[in-house]
């Protein structure tokens, strides 16, 4: 590994100042499960690595405030998967966190790192899209909120401005009952990045929210407000047509070695239909 200077700021203003001073020569380090691999293989060679794990304002924590559940950027997957409030209101996020990598990876991998790395296969992205999460970003100009649907651009690229970092991810507490589920397909059981990662949520007003990743440059959200999809008694052909329309934004790359586009699209349809059934069932059991 290339050497670098290591900074361990204790406060958010210090992080922002360091980012301002070092610009593109600096890299933020959370759990390191993506970053350290890229430092070692030489695709990244920053002069300065800024460790976020001891920044007071980012401390790993899940808090309920003002009708939202706020998850600190450095909260690890193990803690998200086990948190009773996440499991109560945002089960599909707990499910996604629970399948990231292995125990060892989940003990380090943070939610902030998962979305900032912006892999199209990021497993937490589909549930965050379904639940309408907001990303809280801090930078030289202060703090702002970015709807998660406006956050991802392509692999490794988000709409964070230079000098900004993510401090928290916030989920609005549900005002309507919702049933939701996360599912994915990977090449093998155990840890592997998903060939399709998907979340479906159905709420009591009849809306269906479907989000999927690993089938294009960024994770996608599609919504049906007609109520037809969520209604198991609606005509099957009409429902199939609507579901098909929700998949139109899928555009898997032919260059990926993990799975062919045809396979991914077939799995997207299979998993989508399956997740819709489970979401409807979960809503009924709520």
């Amino acid at each position: 590994m290339h050497t670098f200077a290591y900074e361990r700021p204790a406060t958010l203003p210090e992080v922002v100042a360091l980012l301002g001073r070092h610009g593109t020569d600096a890299r933020l380090l959370a759990g390191g499960t993506d970053l350290i691999i890229r430092l070692r293989d030489g695709t990244l060679h920053p002069g300065v690595v800024i460790d976020l794990k001891r920044v007071a304002e980012l401390c790993p924590a899940i808090r309920e405030e003002d009708g939202r559940l706020a998850i600190g950027a450095t909260t690890v997957m193990t803690d998200i998967a086990a948190d009773p409030r996440v499991r109560r209101d945002f089960m599909a996020l707990a499910e996604a966190a629970a399948v990231v990598g292995s125990v060892q990876i989940r003990n380090r991998a943070t939610l902030g790192g998962n979305i900032c790395n912006a892999s199209p296969a990021a497993d937490t992205a589909p549930p965050l899209l379904v639940y309408g999460a907001e990303v809280v970003a801090a930078g030289p100009g202060g703090s702002r909120r970015i709807p998660i649907a406006d956050f991802f651009v392509r692999s490794g690229q988000t709409t964070l401005e230079p000098g900004e970092l993510v401090t928290a991810i916030e989920l609005p507490l549900p005002r309507r009952r919702m049933g939701a589920v996360h599912v994915r397909r990977s090449r093998r059981r155990g840890h592997d990045l998903a060939s399709v990662t998907l979340c479906c949520g159905v709420d009591e007003a009849g809306w269906t929210r479907l989000a999927y990743g690993s089938v294009g440059p960024r994770p996608v959200l599609a919504v049906d407000e007609s109520g037809m999809l969520a209604d198991p008694d609606a005509p099957e052909a009409a429902r199939a047509e609507i579901l098909e329309r929700l998949f139109t934004d899928a555009s898997p790359s032919p260059r990926s070695m993990r799975a062919s586009p045809a396979y991914r699209l077939a799995m997207l349809r299979t998993l989508g239909a399956r997740a819709l059934r489970t979401a409807i069932q979960r809503l009924a059991e709520e």
């Binding site: 290591y6 380090l29 390191g32 350290i36 690595v49």
Partner: protein, 160 residues
Amino acid sequence: MNEIETIAIELTVNGRRRALKVAPHHTLLDVLRDDLELTGTKECCLVGECGACTVIVDGRTVDSCLMLAVEADGAAVTTVEGLAIDGRLSPLQAAFLDKGAAQCGFCIPGQLMSAHALLALNPHPTLAEVQEGLAGNLCRCAGYQQISEAVLATAEGADR
């Protein structure tokens, strides 16, 4: 060549306090093996896939190839060398021997650390929970069945 700047850290390894200077780009794995000469922790894939480098940091397993040594400043680290009790194999280690879980042995330190952490959290795991708990530890000799048996036998033995 430029002099690499080192950083002073303090940590506890297998119950013993250690103060040392580390290069910022050296991983915890590098420092355990090369500086502290604890070579039970193995280096293999270096991308978080195999688990040969698994150690316990503040009660949780991590792949030490994906953690910088400076990040362990202030932490309590347990490696496979720290499992024995008063110079005798722990019940888990003894069960690995008993069930023939070690073939070539290369993955075993990592398997032991994951199993040790699993049993600390969940003293009576099901087979499925053992398999999930050890999914981050690959065994090229494919001794998975014996490894799972050893973990389950340890859990059972703890009752007696």
